[in-house]
């Protein structure tokens, strides 16, 4: 057999194939036109005084940092940022993650029928459309609703009395299954030898969780926290359908303020500028997520 030297391209290295571009093209076109385009356009609009109606809807101009200056002096924006932090920290980071972990641990140790029934109920709450959750929690917290009767205050509308607490609990109620499933999978994948060793050594249940299980679950916990933060930062439907941001501005988190500025007060430019703040916060957590998941592998 002759020497195979210069017969063709090297075969020991992967080469770029044009057919791959052909397959990527349709998805790329859609993403560029209706995703990347709008994102870039948003960065432009956010620095203009574009309005939905009136003369500024056609005759708008680039206003530099004017929107940023306006934000810093905007009482509603500052309150809204604070409410967003409260919502994400309270409902998502603390509530959803802690209750999710608690459920995962309890379900692991429960008898089978209770595990199946309770686990399924929690998952159904997660699968229900958001608008349905908004409706049933609206009903639950109304004056004369189930909550007011359970608490013995038949005439109290809890959605007016403690609106932020109610929407946060409703959000937690809906999303906790996600963290529960993530943690259940994490617990299932723990190396059983280590757990058995701890048990043989006579570590108490509390000690096993604190010193063995939770440290081993650290990567899962970090991933869960970041994902939950990113997902909840942009929560709109549930809060908006329950309260439209009210009473007053008591539940106007940033996504709702963006919508109101843009489509209720017709300030498309300013509304978009506020959404860019939201994007920056989200980007920060996304970067953390990417770094954390890289270290994990």
């Amino acid at each position: 057999m002759a020497v195979v030297g210069t017969l063709g391209p090297r075969l020991d290295r992967e080469r770029f194939q044009w057919s791959s571009l052909l397959m990527l093209a349709p998805g790329l076109v859609l993403l560029v036109v209706l995703f990347l385009g709008p994102v870039l356009y948003a960065f432009y609009i956010g620095f203009t005084n574009l309005a939905l109606v009136g003369s500024r809807s056609r005759d708008y101009s680039f206003t530099g940092l004017e929107n940023v200056a306006r934000m810093l002096g905007d009482y509603v924006f500052i309150k809204s940022s604070w409410l967003t932090i409260l919502f994400v920290v309270g409902s998502a980071i603390v509530g959803q993650s802690v209750l999710g972990m608690l459920l995962a641990i309890l379900l692991r140790n429960a008898v089978v029928p209770i595990r199946i029934v309770v686990g399924s109920i929690v998952i159904v709450a997660w699968v229900l459309p958001e608008i349905t959750v908004a409706l049933i929690w609206y009903a639950f917290s109304q004056a004369g609703g189930t909550l007011s009767i359970l608490l013995g205050h038949g005439g109290t509308n809890f959605l007016v009395l403690v609106p932020m607490l109610i929407v946060s609990v409703a959000n937690l109620w809906r999303n906790v299954a996600f963290s529960m499933l993530v943690f259940s999978a994490g617990l299932r994948n723990l190396p059983s030898e280590v757990l058995e060793a701890a048990e043989v050594e006579g570590a108490s249940a509390w000690r096993r969780y604190r010193s063995v299980i939770l440290p081993l679950l650290r990567p899962t916990i970090v991933t869960n926290l970041l994902l939950v933060t990113i997902l909840n930062l942009s929560e709109f439907t549930l809060i908006y359908a329950m309260t439209q941001g009210g009473p007053g501005i008591e539940t106007t988190t940033l996504p709702i303020y963006v919508y109101q500025e843009a489509f209720v007060f017709h300030q498309l430019g300013y509304g978009t500028a506020i959404s860019l703040v939201l994007v920056l916060i989200g980007a920060f957590f996304s970067l953390l997520f990417v770094r954390a998941s890289r270290r994990q592998v």
Partner: protein, 290 residues
């Protein structure tokens, strides 16, 4: 392991620890779970009870059973048309997203593409972007293009916004299919598209199904995008319709509202049950970004 474990303590005493016993802790575990289960069940139960109650209220109560609410809703033209709108919207979105995700994910999983890793990171980042950021520029674009108030153009944007995550999900599923089969097919002379159609597609049916169902469930519940991009009553999908009903105090009876949201929720619950058969492995985050 035996049913009883023994271990010596500091003094030569031997402590016997029963391996299985019904302890107070186990009782407490189950009891707390039952209470938590009630917390999750009660709000849902209102919807179920109110839907078959002849005179429902905001509070849960034992219903005086009737099917009148169901008959009411099924006879309402606006309720039926919003189901139709939701089907068109979610169906179109799902077909588009799944097809494009499959086509994009295959080369991203299998072929040599320059800047693949940064590209996947951008895709991942994009799937975390808040939709409320995109709504204003897309609204402006749609005004300019004359695309407002159409279910199909709305579905096109829904597809674009769900595509990044779908590509990412789909790529992970294809990554899990052994590549040797494709090499064999390639050596036998099959073209790339033929390999995709006859080797990869059959093996990724579960992954494709999960991607499709996940996309459908999200599109079915999508609120802000159709809320902003459509306005005529005929084009309002279920979530927008329920929102309008909630706001129109008195115009819509509790019972009808409960029936409508119950009927609207059933499809996604059924789809989820179907999907969960394939979904069990999806919550392991090992190798999230390859």
């Amino acid at each position: 392991m035996s049913a009883v474990q023994a271990r010596p303590l500091a003094g030569d005493k031997l402590i016997v620890v029963p391996y299985r016993k019904v302890s107070a802790a186990a009782m407490a575990t189950n009891l707390v779970l039952i209470l938590l289960g009630c917390f999750f069940l009660l709000p849902m139960l209102w919807m179920v009870f109110a839907s078959i109650d002849s005179n429902p209220d905001w509070a849960i109560r034992i219903p005086s059973p009737t099917l009148a609410n169901f008959a009411d809703v099924l006879g309402r033209a606006d309720a039926l048309s919003s189901f139709r709108s939701s089907l068109i919207l979610a169906g179109t979105t799902t077909v588009l997203t799944t097809l494009l995700a499959l086509l994009s994910a295959y080369p991203l999983s299998r072929m040599h593409i320059p800047f693949k890793r940064p590209f996947m990171l951008v895709i991942l980042f994009a799937s975390g972007l808040p939709v409320s950021m995109l709504v204003v520029p897309v609204y402006q674009m749609y005004v300019y293009l004359g695309w407002l108030d159409s279910l199909y153009t709305t579905a096109l944007f829904l597809a674009a916004s769900s595509l990044p995550f779908a590509i990412w999900l789909m790529k992970n599923f294809i990554d899990a299919v052994p590549v040797e089969l494709e090499h064999a097919a390639a050596i036998d002379g099959a073209s790339t598209f033929r390999i995709l159609r006859e080797v990869v597609l059959p093996l990724t049916v579960p992954g494709t199904a999960v991607t499709a169902i996940y996309t459908f469930i999200n599109a079915w519940g999508a609120f802000i995008i159709p809320f902003v991009l459509t306005y005529s009553p005929d084009n309002q999908p279920g979530p927008v319709e329920i929102y309008n009903f909630m706001g129109s105090h008195g115009l819509f009876k509790f019972g009808d509202l409960a029936v409508f949201s119950l009927l609207f929720s059933v499809p996604v619950i059924v789809l989820y049950l179907f999907m969960s058969r394939y979904f069990s492995g999806a919550f392991n985050f090992g190798g999230a970004v390859k």
